[in-house]
Amino acid sequence: MTMKNITVALAGNPNSGKTSIFNMLTGAHQHVGNYPGVTVEKKEGLRRYAGYEIKFVDLPGTYSLTAYSIEELLARNFIIEQQPDVVVDIVDASNIERNLYLATQLIEMNVPLVLAFNMSDIAKQKGLIFDTEQLSRLLEAKIVPTVGNKGKGKTELLNAIVETAERGKIERTHKVSYGDEIEEELAKIEAIVIDKKCRLLEKYESRWLALKLLEQDEDITSNVERKEILDVVGPCIEHLRTIFSDEPEIIIADRRYGFISGACKETIKSTVELRHSISDAVDAVVTNRILGLPVFLVLMFLVFILTFKLGEWPMDLLDTFFNQLGKTITGFWPAGSENWLQSLLVDGVISGVGGVIVFLPNILLLFLAIAFLEDSGYMARAAFVMDSIMHKIGLHGKSFIPMLIGFGCSLPAIMATRILENRRNRFTTIMVIPLMSCGARLTIYALIIPAFFPQQWRGPVLWIIYLTGIILAVSCAKVLRLTLFKGETTPFVMELPPYRMPTLKAICMHTWQRGWVYLKKAGTIILAISILLWAATSYPKPSEKDLAGLNVQEVRQAELIHSVAGRIGRTIEPIIQPLGFDWKIGTALIGATAAKEVFVSQLAIVYAVGSADEKSETLRQKLQANYSPLTGFCVMLFCLISLPCVATLAMTKQETNSWGWALFQFAGLTILAYIITFGVYQFGRLIGL
């Protein structure tokens, strides 16, 4: 039996519950990608129903369909170019008037429309009663009450979609009227557009075109090829400006609300006195002048603990698993006959794959916490509370959260920047996150500080390192915002949705989707680079002759020195000498680009101490014997400022959708690290340290 295909686009305001409706309609059959060329998410899903194969496309949440933001343009263009069979506008029924603004624009575009009155349970609680039949007639669209996060209304919605798709496009009788003055000018523009056979008529309807031209829509106006049309539009706009002493665009917006207001007055009754809800009570505390910040800090602390402490247990489990796997695979080769394949599999592939998967618990837990904060509505309040502080650095209040996570690990932190909508803020935050000293670097500090500093100095030195990171992050953010990511201070306007209890199903789904994206995208890059680094630290191997008579540690030392990484280490020695480093540190740094923890073990190999960790006294003694405390401090400084690991690089690439930015981050941090370490070392020598 052949199925007929239909495409359904889902539109709606942010916070209208669009995602839960999408999940309800598509179940597990979803695919998340990007719109080509931009970092805006594109979600698609499939469902079979009533003999149809339905493809659902989740458009970005928008308040409107203007040309002012990329999300709105994408949504609008999808509707115009892909011509979906049905557009479902998901409306927050407890906040109808504002939500219907988008619906009026869809009506203007004359798309086959279905309205999902979502959160209808909350609307009921508020005492709102809808005459859906009448409203449906006025808006010429089927209306279906739904409760997305509980799965209610699914069948009715699907039925409405199918019926609307079968009915197809209709000639509307109830058009949005903009008042006599504007209608007069619209008629003039429509006439000339048709007369001059404007090529845009192939895609858009004449009335809609006229409306956009009157609104001075940049996208449409710039695509009009006939000057005669624009010559007519100009005076129309001037005329309206004079009559209304305001831009036609604003008057048109006002008239849309007028239309909505009229339709709602007739069809919506409020039976309960709207009293101060629980939301307001919570807000009184959470955004309170004095309590707001402490509440926020406590919650952040909990998020941090959840991500890293709770994550420890599954991470250790995974670590053990991969170690065991490595041993098992090694077991296939009789002892002593290990060859390159074994090394590639165990030290390259398994180590690489393990390195990626081991982060998964962290990431899942973090996103679980974030999903909870976002879905409950708290995230908006957090931005409100943090705004005054973050504003001084030129960042959004929400930037605080990814930066805080960065103290644990940059990887989930960079992923967390998704909560920032503004591209410039997001990129700036991504660039400076590595300066928040992450957990891996702690292993380096744990090795070096006791090796060089007496007991009473250890705490303060650690403090200084962390503080330096923070100060640098703030300064760099400021500089970036003034230069590369310059832009007027983000027009800060944000809706504060009412508090809601997130459903377990919803947050689990959000979380799982993020985790999957991480595995697929970042995972592949990290694995590839890990294998490359394995090759660089293992090959070329020294000849049998060179290895004669050496013990196990010395063999490993010789192999490392002989490899590509080792050679690079020697080659860059002259460059890093002014920082107080030698080729041994250089080699360890090269190996450590895979992951900062590796620095310690690489250093151990170079000093033929065998496998050692940061607690190794032997290694510390070697360090003490060979370097000064100043050098030790400089090593920590360099590790702090330079990129923590290739995984970070991969993550930046993924979140910025560009290798260019990832390399910029890498180069920028490395150069910054070099300059500062150079300065500190030389200054230290100067004053006799």
Binding site: T66, Y68, E247, A253, H391, F492, V493, E495
Partner: protein
């Protein structure tokens, strides 16, 4: 420009940022570029809409309520919204 209401009090055009907690005002116009104007309009801030100020501190963002939703604005923006 000012107008008198029933009690004979004078009302002045002023920026939203000067309105105190709990006061209700009406939007007259927004002194900003078209992009910002349009975005605010699509979120409900059109001429004549009633705005209730929820939180106005001398520094930091500004919280208000229109129709049935709560919104947060930067101080700069609250300065540009002229109300009566």
């Amino acid at each position: 420009m000012s107008s008198e209401n029933k009690k004979g009090e004078q009302k002045q055009l002023r920026p939203l940022s000067t309105v105190r907690n709990g006061e209700k005002v009406k939007l007259v116009r927004i002194d900003a570029g078209r992009g910002l104007n349009s975005r605010l309009a699509s979120m409900g801030l059109v001429p004549n809409v009633e705005i209730t100020v929820i939180s106005n501190r001398q520094r930091g963002p500004f919280m208000l309520s229109i129709k049935n939703s709560k919104m947060m604005l930067g101080r700069g923006m609250a300065n540009k919204i002229i109300v009566l």
